[in-house]
């Protein structure tokens, strides 16, 4: 083992521990703001893993998009929603937690067995790190052209949808001229009567 490999392994270990610890914190901490910040930590560690894989552009994009945009957005959302609510403790919570843990551990065991048992076809060719952006660009305009273009349509529509969901609606005045049921911003069907009433 030469020095480079040793550094690689050590940094991988540090990053993995960081990522797992932060992820556990996201799930287990009670304060939601802590969770949000720790989520940022998870994203950062992932980006470190990308750097270890020589994927510099992806690493930068990861930080820019997930930490810089998504995570900050989540923080904003948490801070803007300033609502305190007392949650009643759920009875027999330990049963649910136990069952969940059992399922998760089982799944983990299955997946790790699979990861260890499978002879992965590992690509040993080293990639020239200086030109990842060029390579990504070439891929985007050759064999990934269609997904690339489709993603643009998807983003456009996501934007339109977000605007629709967020904007204040113009509620048309109710016109009594038509004989039919007038509804504004609700489904034309009435809500279902509850079965007890």
């Amino acid at each position: 083992m030469n020095l480079a490999e040793g550094v690689q392994i050590v940094s991988f270990g540090i990053l993995a521990v960081m990522m797992l610890g932060a992820a556990l914190g996201v799930v287990l901490l009670n304060q939601i703001v802590y969770s949000a910040f720790l989520l940022g930590g998870v994203f950062m560690s992932i980006s470190g893993l990308y750097i270890l894989l020589n994927a510099d552009f992806v690493a930068a994009a990861q930080i820019l998009i997930y930490v810089g945009a998504v995570n900050v957005l989540i923080l904003f959302a948490i801070m803007l929603v300033n609502k305190k609510e007392e949650f009643k403790p759920v009875r027999n919570r330990w049963i649910r937690q136990g069952a969940t843990a059992l399922v998760c551990v089982g799944l983990l065991a299955l997946l790790s067995t699979m990861v260890l048992a499978t002879p992965w076809a590992v690509d040993t060719t080293t990639v020239n790190a200086s030109s990842t952006i060029i390579q990504i660009g070439k891929h985007f305009f050759s064999d990934f052209l269609l997904p690339f273009e489709l993603a643009s349509v998807l983003l456009l529509m996501a934007m339109v949808g977000a605007i629709i969901l967020a904007r204040r609606d113009f509620i048309p005045e109710r016109k009594a001229t038509t004989t039919e049921v007038e509804t504004a911003l609700t489904l034309p069907e009435r809500p279902r009567e509850l079965s007890g009433s």
Binding site: D143, F144, V153, L185, T186
Partner: protein, 521 residues
């Protein structure tokens, strides 16, 4: 060699001409809405329908195209995909017909609704032809995200919100599971993303790969089963169907489901050809559960939309018989049934929309005595429901016969017998609605029907509903009797598709693909 000219000469971009037309229509609708304002939105939806019909024409001219692979292996426009894309485009056109009045009456913007619906269509169409993993996932997400938006479109209505949230959460989870399964495929094949290339890499399963393939298979099926709402991945269906705007439900039950089945055929047959007995076993279980649960729970429903939700689960179970059969005839019977299902199910939803527009309810009990007030609606709904129940000589009968016959030929005796028995159960709940409408005496008429408004087709947005109603009525009645051309279409779409030939002997299209190594240099 000049990079751009090399790529451009190999793209074969003509295969996505139908999708291109849909995108152009989408742009016209979006931009037109901005320029012309809200008053033009009804005209814009007619433009959307015209664009969709243009897309159907484009699909027609691509039939039996010799060059089906486009975008360097990213898209496969073979006949199988053409049939499914055609079904999806038609279902969208029908959905727009029935949504114009509905959306306007709910007070929300029509043009945006149409454009989101077109995006969902686009995603579904790409999903039918997607030939690599990235394309599959991206088009699946396009379809899903548009569907979430549509489900929550009437955002002031708590039911719609609840439906959208449920759909989003369960949908996102199933997408994640699907993605995990697909990423396993990427790893197992040593970094291949094209389906045929993956299949070529997965030929040797003896050497420890079997567990990985099995997990990939299960996870991929979980994603697919969510889309086609097969039991036990169906929990979202009743709530989402009840809470969403009805035209959206119509699209979800036909267009989205057809895309799911197209994905199932392509992915399972191409990639998982080595483990065919395994996935057939899983789908047998799914089909059994779907047929039993869908049909039995539908018996107890009081809301029309919920009943149609469970009936759509059950119908998916019937279609899965064709998938499990695993023969060319089996896939052809699926194509045929989905095509017929398009008309009968959308016809039924058109009737439900019409009734709820006029009366504001969708309770089954409120339909009683409808024949006196609205004979056309009664006739159309009766025909569509009876066809769903498989009563001859309507279209559904022939679809079911074909499915059962194919299943029988494949030796699935138990599955076919179960299908036969559950279809008797389904007749019971379909005819319950028909009974409500037709059999009830005038004095048993519900209050809603007593106050039924006079039928006026000249109100804005009603004419397209009428057109959709009559079209689906005619199609449901005649598609069975005149079904031989449809049978031929379905069969030739299967027999001429490259999927089923490459399934056994993978062909690497090296001459049309840029070599990965040459790119990286």
């Amino acid at each position: 060699m000049d990079f751009s000219s090399t790529v451009a000469s190999q793209l074969n971009a003509g295969v996505i001409l139908p999708e291109g037309l849909v995108i152009i229509t989408l742009m016209v609708v979006l931009v037109g809405d901005i320029i012309l304002g809200r008053n033009a939105s009804r005209q814009l939806s007619y433009v959307a329908i015209a664009g969709l019909l243009g897309s159907v024409v484009a699909l027609y001219f691509q039939w039996d195209n010799s060059q089906t692979i486009g975008f360097l292996g990213g898209f496969n426009g073979d006949n199988l995909s053409i049939v499914f894309r055609g079904t999806i485009v038609l279902s969208t056109a029908f959905t727009i017909l029935m949504s114009i009045r509905y959306i306007q009456q709910s007070g929300t913007a029509l043009a945006e609704f149409v454009s989101i619906l077109l995006t969902a269509t686009l995603g579904a169409m790409f999903l039918c032809g997607a030939n690599d993993l990235v394309m599959i996932f991206l088009s699946l997400e396009t379809l899903s995200i548009s569907s979430y938006l549509l489900t929550g479109y009437t955002k002031r209505d708590p039911r719609s919100n609840e439906a959208a949230l449920k759909y989003l959460l369960i949908g996102a989870a199933s997408s994640a599971i699907f993605l995990y399964g697909v990423s396993l495929l990427y790893g197992l094949s040593g970094g291949e993303i094209r389906l045929d290339a993956i299949a070529a890499q997965l030929t040797d399963l003896s050497s420890g790969q079997s567990l990985g393939v099995a997990i990939a298979l299960v996870f991929a099926i979980a994603g697919i089963a969510f889309k086609i709402s097969a039991v036990p991945f169906h929990q979202w269906t009743p709530d989402v169907y009840e809470g969403s705007p009805t035209p959206v439900v119509a699209f979800l039950s036909v267009g989205s489901k057809a895309a799911g089945f197209a994905l199932a055929i392509r992915l399972l047959v191409t990639v998982f050809g080595q483990v065919t007995p395994e996935w057939q076993f899983i789908f047998t279980a799914l089909a059994v559960l779907s047929m039993i649960l869908g049909n039995v729970v539908a018996l107890a429903q009081t809301s029309m939309k919920r009943m149609l939700a469970y009936s759509s689960i059950a119908q998916a179970g019937f279609v899965m018989i064709g998938l499990v059969a695993g023969s060319d005839d089996g896939y052809a019977s699926m194509v045929f049934y989905l095509f017929i299902y398009l008309f009968m199910n959308l016809g039924a939803f058109t009737c439900v929309i019409l009734f709820s527009l006029r009366t504001g309810t969708d309770q089954i009990a409120e339909y009683s005595g409808l024949y006196q007030k609205d004979p056309l609606l009664t006739l159309a709904l009766s025909i569509c429901l009876l066809s769903l129940g498989g009563i001859p000589p309507l279209a559904g009968f022939f679809g079911k016969i074909y499915l059962f016959w194919v299943g029988w030929q494949a030796g699935l005796y138990g599955l076919v017998l179960l299908g036969l028995v559950t279809s008797v159960v389904s007749i019971y709940y379909y005819i319950r609605v028909v009974k409500m409408m037709v059999v009830k005496e005038p004095h048993e008429m519900s209050d809603t029907v007593k106050n039924y408004p006079p039928i006026r087709w000249n109100l804005p947005g009603m004419r397209p509903l009428q057109v959709g109603l009559v079209l689906s009525l005619v199609a449901t009645t005649l598609a069975g009797i005149l079904s031989n051309p449809l049978f031929n279409l379905a069969n030739s779409s299967i027999s001429n598709s490259s999927v089923f030939q490459t399934a056994s002997t993978p062909v690497i299209l090296s001459e049309s693909i840029i070599n990965r190594q040459s790119l990286s240099e």
